[in-house]
Symmetry: C2
Subunit: 531 residues, 2 copies
């Protein structure tokens, strides 16, 4: 431990050192990480402010559920808060860093076994350290008959992504939809297997049926701090006969509502059988530039949000419309023909709509646009204003009704103009009935004023949105309480429920205090006091 | 209260009468039901044994969540166990009757409002007393653009069915899949809205996104006793262009594995885009007869399980095979053509397979085989051995691997022969990856020896199955602990987790003690002592 490391709140240096010794007795000295260099790797690389406010005191890297059980027992004895991360790639939401400064990161990346791939039943059983590359390779090694939906970049954890409600782009949609069966180490060191995993010995149905018998727990362990997920089943898509990509463009700034309203019935009746992403004009300009490594100054020099007429001219000069949507469909080739005909018929009614498609057929090499094979590339746009860049997302869940989506977008756009940021915005479809409106504020982390302004913009959007009845689906570690505050029904009944369960399962509050605004009685004193 | 009414365990007559007075202060005297006649209606009409072992002491029928809040507070003060039922049609699993004799039934049937139907977003928001007829009528009144999957008979509660993990027969599958957002009155009287329902005021996304922010609670309130669900969102299927019915028959007794293995990849890749039901030869004989009101004695006089060669001759004389599967597919007419071609190609490879189909097209009247419009008819087969009949189901969840399904069926069939019952068995597909093997023992409730034998057969099957690693998905109130015992991983860690949450949310154990084997500390003393 170096001199600059924080201590866990309320824990003396002597107690902490004693705890570290005991941790080392479980995982070995090499995997109790206390050096400044090691601790630095657990800071949030895109922090919207001082990353040190979320610095950890140390990190532990166990290799088995039994080791996790032993570690939580030690943490309980010494009241050491642990911050479990799978691979820690929760980018834009805090990376590996804990909400509560001085927490010990419980880094599960060494638990990286693909325990089972079942081609006949379409699932895998994985540990938290398995990233999308690992799983993809394991599936390819067994013939590539099952597909994942991979986020970019692909180094994130399959479990971590599902637990945080990450979006998938196949018919299986949001990756949490595909969770089937967990092994969870509870805060008291007990280990539970959910659903059919409780059948023992000889059970073979853990990954085939989600509901088991009695209360269904799996989703309670997502976006929460009730246990450490050490194994998880995930349903995988059987390789389809063909995949079609659609890129649909509408010409005018006022076309957002008609875009949303045209897509809605096609998505609801499953003609569009996987999530779509709508991009606003700023994003349509910025994404291709960022992919080429270009920054803002190569096209625009002025301050503030780039003017709309400039944006429009730039897109028109490229032959592009102001609103674009992209998605992939999965079916047989003839099935895709039917889907394409319906989609074209719907957009034929929208003036100026252009529909472009391409196809992949079984046997051809996987293409990047399919989002099935993982890739590594820099996060789009992050250095837009020069680097090292950071970004903050606003992410309210909104029903796909054109007028309602436009209302949110107008609210967002006005604030981006007011705060002087280019209004990069995506609309991530998360199932037949919802969209995450997802504006993203890029900033230069070395520009303190810009960073402060980005942070303030986020808080203003939270408040604007909450006043109109919008709630976010996810939050950065710095804003987890702010977003929890949006869910205020009956004087925050949902938080009371969470706190009751937290206190029952983790009375000392050793697991991830503050995650998603859940502190529990033992750690509530630290709420809002990151340092 | 009549003299023969049981008291809640551990509650004096004076205290109970005081509680009844207070309950009446909330719901009015007319809706505190204590007469013998009233209480009789809450007995299990198909009880496998003495229905009085699960007799209630009274029933209460509130009309609002606020009344439910007031009732649970009174129940807490007097330590009165409440047994919430939606409409109480949990047939074969106990009807309206509580596990713990003397519990007060909390009958929610008067809370029967369809609060919202949203055609654009494909959902409804309903109260627990809404049955499938009510919802169907509400949908028809708005143009019939949304469809439900309706069980037979249709008088059951939409909420109750989803909470108990009832099976649906559209692409939406098991009805619990379609739950989106709940209002729950907790045991302490607090009321929580889950998911996006926490956003307040002005939130309009309660029924469009399941996950909200933070831990996802909905499924924890299914098959459990942690709260009283007073409102629930349910996703509904947009009316498709066409529906196809498939009836596929295989000729020989040994064809079960090839049936399962041929269906599996078609279901997994969504060619078969809704659940199928396989019927064994006994069920193929008994279902049509029961539908005509005929009983066993009209075709077979001997004791024991009807011999297989008699069963085979009977089916052959009707031109039917020994194994049959039925399902409906939902798509456009051309889309159904593609699906049918694939299914026929797969079954063309199976010797003796016969495939029959029929179609419905938008604009035609709904047909009974579509299972979209609710119907009322006597439960098939229940009076097979003469009446008044009862039935007990064994319901293990099994992966759809031919050899494994056949292993379970052989185990079941041998026991039916040994115990002398006709081996009526269905195989209910519950998603792409699982089947509930569902043998059903019919018995004449006035034949005490037969009833005892049926009960013993159930317990023997539970033990046989548990030894091979099979766990049930549901249980009758008399067998809830038996089935919970199957989930024994890590010395019953799942039950320990349930008990911890139960104690935190309901320390006095007033909600549904014993449901799915969850008693909690306060009521565990009554476990296994129904009277």
């Amino acid at each position: 431990m170096t001199a600059s490391a924080p201590l866990p709140p309320g824990v003396s240096a002597a107690d902490f050192n004693q705890a570290l010794k005991e941790f080392a007795g479980v995982v070995g000295h090499d995997w109790v990480l206390t050096s400044e260099e090691d601790r630095h790797t657990y800071l949030d690389a895109f922090a919207p402010g001082d990353a040190d406010k979320h610095a950890c005191s140390a990190a532990l890297a166990p290799t088995t559920a039994e080791e996790v059980q032993a570690l939580v027992k030690i943490a309980n004895r010494h009241r050491i808060p642990l911050w479990p991360v799978s691979t820690g790639r929760n980018l834009a939401y805090g990376g590996s860093a804990p909400v509560l400064r001085g927490s010990v990161v419980l880094d599960l990346k060494r638990m990286n076994r693909v325990l089972e791939v079942n081609n006949e039943l379409g699932y895998a059983l994985v540990e938290p350290g398995v990233n999308f590359f690992d799983l993809f390779e394991a599936l390819q090694a067994q013939g590539g008959k099952l597909w994942i939906s991979t986020p970019a970049p692909g180094w994130g954890s399959v479990i971590g992504n599902a637990l945080e409600h990450g979006v998938g782009y196949t018919p299986y949609g949001v990756n949490a939809n595909s969770i089937c069966g967990m092994e969870v180490v509870l805060a008291n060191g007990d280990v539970v297997r959910t659903g059919m995993g409780g059948v023992n010995p000889g059970g073979q149905e853990w990954q085939v049926f989600k509901y088991g018998y009695g209360p269904v727990w799996d989703l309670m362990f997502t976006q929460s701090n009730f246990g450490v997920v050490t194994k998880m089943g995930i349903w995988l898509l059987p390789e389809p006969e063909a995949v079609a990509n659609f890129a649909i463009s509408l010409p005018d700034m006022g076309d957002l509502p008609v875009m949303v309203d045209t897509l809605r019935p096609l998505r609801l009746d499953d003609t569009i059988n996987a999530p779509y992403t709508i991009t606003n004009p700023y994003r349509s300009i910025m994404d291709p530039m960022s992919a080429q490594g270009k920054t803002r100054s190569t096209i625009y020099k002025g301050p503030g949000c780039m003017p709309l007429d400039f944006v429009e001219q730039t897109l028109r000069s490229r032959g592009e419309g102001m609103w674009n949507v992209g998605f992939n469909l999965f079916d047989s080739d003839k099935g895709l023909d039917l889907r394409e005909a319906k989609i074209r018929a719907a957009f034929d009614k929208v003036p100026g709509a252009k529909v472009k498609t391409m196809r992949w057929h079984r046997g051809e090499p996987l293409a990047g646009w399919m989002r099935v094979s993982p890739v590594l590339f820099p996060l789009a746009g992050v250095d837009w204003y020069g680097g090292p860049g950071g970004h903050i997302n606003y992410a309210p869940v909104v029903a796909p009704i054109g007028s309602r989506i436009a209302e949110v977008y107008d609210m967002v756009y006005r604030r981006y103009v007011e705060f002087g940021f280019d209004c990069y915005c995506g609309f991530l479809n998360i199932g037949g009935r919802a969209i995450v409106v997802n504006p993203c504020t890029f900033f230069n982390r070395e520009d303190a004023e810009m960073t402060r302004r980005a942070r303030e913009l986020a808080r203003v959007l939270y408040k604007d949105g909450a006043a109109k009845g919008f709630g976010d689906y996810r939050a950065h570690i710095s804003f987890m309480d702010d977003v929890a505050d949006m869910y205020g029904y009956n004087d925050h009944a949902a938080r009371r429920l969470g706190d009751k369960v937290k206190d029952a399962l983790d009375p000392n509050g050793i697991l991830a205090p503050g995650k998603q605004g859940l502190w529990g009685s033992a750690q509530r004193v630290h709420k809002g006091k990151p340092a």
